[in-house]
Symmetry: C2
Subunit: 128 residues, 2 copies
DNA sequence: CGCGAACTACGAAGACCTTCGTTGACACCT
DNA sequence: AGGTGTCAACGAAGGTCTTCGTAGTTCGCG
């Protein structure tokens, strides 16, 4: 049992994970350049080292410039953060979060259609 | 311009806010008792004092046991946290968050109906 | 070889969060 | 008046996160 009940990634960690999810395996330099915030190179490096310890990312040390890749899938992290938020501020109701999310900004017709489809599926399920 | 760009409430703060939103104005003791986590009385007190400084809550000192009430509305905080999450992990697409939220857990038929209604409204809007 | 550029590693500082012990004030009861 | 319980205030400790300076390593090049 070495499963240590992973904590939420921090903001800085999440920003880095997003880069790795989007770009795929990358060096510190690449991440640092992509991430156009004001943070310094060594800051990004340090954070990525910590993320390696936390097993959020993998490191390939074959080259001099180590190559990092995300070890946690994007979907999982999204799910983790969503259920966390649902529990902490929406009383455990994902639907209320969904309502809040949708009424906030505008959504494209394609996404609306996708949502409608999901809704159909869910309603059929609840009927059976 | 005294608007200081409010930061996300921390976990402990959020837990307390939830109690205040649910119960309405409450004393520290009441909050502490409601909140059945393992935290000590003075911990809750301290946090609520800090929240007063941050203007997250209001304090009525008329009685010996001060009475606190939420100063930020629940809706605002929910919106804040949702848009924050949308920006940080769903690339700015609320619909993707909604999809993730809904596919995670089961949702009651009433909520599904509510969602469908909102979807109708949104689709009509995008048509015009 | 010797220099500079690109890297990693390390450590420490500063900010914030959470936790709680202790102190002092106040109130009620006997 | 003295004792007991309730309360706010304070301060300090310990943890985590973020930041970055500095030092050491490696590589390529003149």
């Amino acid at each position: 049992m070495s499963r240590t009940k992973l904590p939420r990634p921090t903001d800085a960690e999440l920003a880095i994970l997003r880069v790795l999810w989007d770009r795929g395996a990358s060096t510190v330099r690449e991440v640092h350049e992509t991430l156009q915030d004001g943070s310094g190179y060594t800051t990004v490096l340090k954070t990525m080292q910590i993320m390696t310890e936390k097993e959020l990312v993998m490191r390939d040390e074959a080259q001099r410039a180590h190559v990092y890749s995300a070890r946690v899938p994007r979907e999982n992290t999204q799910r983790q953060l969503v259920t966390d938020l649902v529990d902490r501020v929406f009383g455990g109701s994902p639907a209320r979060l969904a309502l809040q999310a949708l009424s906030t900004k505008k959504t494209s017709p394609e996404e609306l259609a996708e949502l409608r489809q999901l809704l159909d599926t869910l309603e059929k399920e609840s009927e059976s």
